[in-house]
Amino acid sequence: MTFSERMLKIDRRIIFLVIGLCTLLPLLYPVGLPIKISSEVRGVYDHIESLPEQSVFLLSIDFDPASKPELYPQAIALLRHAFRKNLRVITMTLWVSGTGMADQIVTQVAKEMGKEYGTDYAFLGWSPGGQAVIINMGQDLYSAFPSDYGGRPTKELPVLNGVRNLKDVGYMVDLGAGKPGVEEWYVFGKDKYKFELGGGCTGVMAPGLYPLLRSGQINGLIGGLRGAAEYESLIDQKGQAVAGMDAQSATHIAIIVLVIICNVFYLSLRRAARAQGQAG
């Protein structure tokens, strides 16, 4: 067996180990590589910056713990920014499996920023129906969510004063890890009820949402952990996402090197086989 053949049949656990080390070492010993802000992430940031105080900001936390590493830092950064701008923050989820986590995120950031429940922010919880909930909210928010997560009647929450439906929302950002997610909020929400919409999503979903961004159907997009790191840099509160960027870059380099090495071995094997065939 030649060296190339041996390398192409290498135990995959060695590759797992290499990737594991490339992730672990930068997390233990961070280098602090620079983070360049993309226009799509800046789109969301700039829009929130442009909102006057006490504008209504709706954040739909449409993910569950399976997507937490990518979308949790996005949610934290967005909430910090909205609270810092003194916006009226309304949060909700269309994912039943993410309800407890969404409540924990909102409560944690609100406590950190000294905000009061009911006056500065509210968590409406989960309502069944996915896209039907969005349509319902477009007609009457109180019909979609008669009570909040804690069972308090939503009509009695001061933070919702003057808000009847989605048309009264100043800006809405959906952090989605699938369906229902950003696309549903556009199709059944923005396209029908005409409010400004931004999106945040997992890395896997980002390429599929770029067409919506280019056509102006959404005004910004935060894609994966990278997007979260950019947002953390923009609000100048570096957290989990920025800390993970060195590891992300290191693993990407490792994967690129592995792809190149595999191709070199594959081509050398093919050339050897061809030479053998000609000799035979």
């Binding site: 594991g20 039943v96 159907q217 992300q248």
Partner: protein, 249 residues
């Protein structure tokens, strides 16, 4: 024991049990996998029961007298007739309602959002008219709205659509166009794969970040103790497997 510390031990243990699959498939991984599925389903059932049945159905009907809610409840109950073979036909009314309503809601909105809006965005002016300067052509590749990008997108969409047009043979000029379509598809798949790799690595970073945090003495170093325990268990399982190889029949 403090709930946070208990949570750290549980999270660390389950993460390491799942990671043990990277070594090889084993009963510890299966335990964590089944726990994950069970807990997710259990959580969903409880939340659905509390939110839907208690807060959106029973309370409004009993406490506020919203009798009209009995109509959707009745339609929903028809679904359950699937379990009674003689009455199963009744479930078709419920399905017909759901399919009809779903299609009615989705079709016009999807056509408007994904077909008309995207076609409108694809067919952009290839040249721009700017005030007194007349016609201009912007070459900036980094600007999504530039004229050069408008041409690239038009070429990409047309060639990919032609590649999936099977009524004529892809020969001559057609072959060149179809090949161009493949090229655009490959670039698109590459971008999607790149993002997928990034997403998967982000998940790994998330778990490793937690493992590093939980290796702290304030949590009782669950990462270190549980890692040693799981490595030991895997070693014992491996030894047991060698002593009693699985039946080859």
């Amino acid at each position: 024991m403090d709930a946070t510390i208990f949570g750290a031990w549980v999270a660390t243990g389950l993460t390491l049990l799942i990671f043990s699959f990277l070594y090889k498939d084993n009963p510890l991984f299966k335990l964590a996998e089944h726990l994950y599925v069970g807990v997710s389903i259990g959580y969903t059932i409880v939340k659905t029961y509390d939110t839907v049945l208690v807060h959106l159905v029973v309370k409004p009907i009993v406490e506020q007298g919203e009798i009209s809610l009995l109509i959707p409840v009745g339609i929903g109950m028809l679904m359950l007739t699937r379990y009674v073979p003689k009455a199963a036909w009744m479930s078709r009314y419920a399905f017909a309602f759901i399919v009809g309503m779903g299609a009615g809601l989705a079709i016009p909105r999807t056509i408007s959002s994904f077909i008309l809006k995207q076609v409108e965005d694809t067919i952009r002016p290839l040249l721009s008219l700017v005030g007194s300067d007349g016609v201009t052509f912007s070459m900036n590749l980094l600007n999504p709205a530039s004229n050069l990008n408008a041409i690239i997108i038009l070429l990409g969409v047309s060639s990919v659509l032609f590649y999936f047009f099977f009524s004529i043979e892809h020969t001559g000029v057609g072959k060149v166009v179809a090949r161009t379509g493949i090229l655009f598809l490959m670039i698109s798949f590459g971008a999607a794969f790149g993002y997928t790799v990034m997403a998967r690595m982000s998940l790994l970073i998330g778990r490793l970040t937690d493992l590093i945090e939980y290796s702290d003495a304030s949590y009782g170093r669950p990462t270190i103790w549980l890692l040693m325990g799981i490595v030991g268990a895997l070693f014992l399982l491996s030894r047991k497997g060698q002593e009693h190889p699985p039946d080859s029949h």
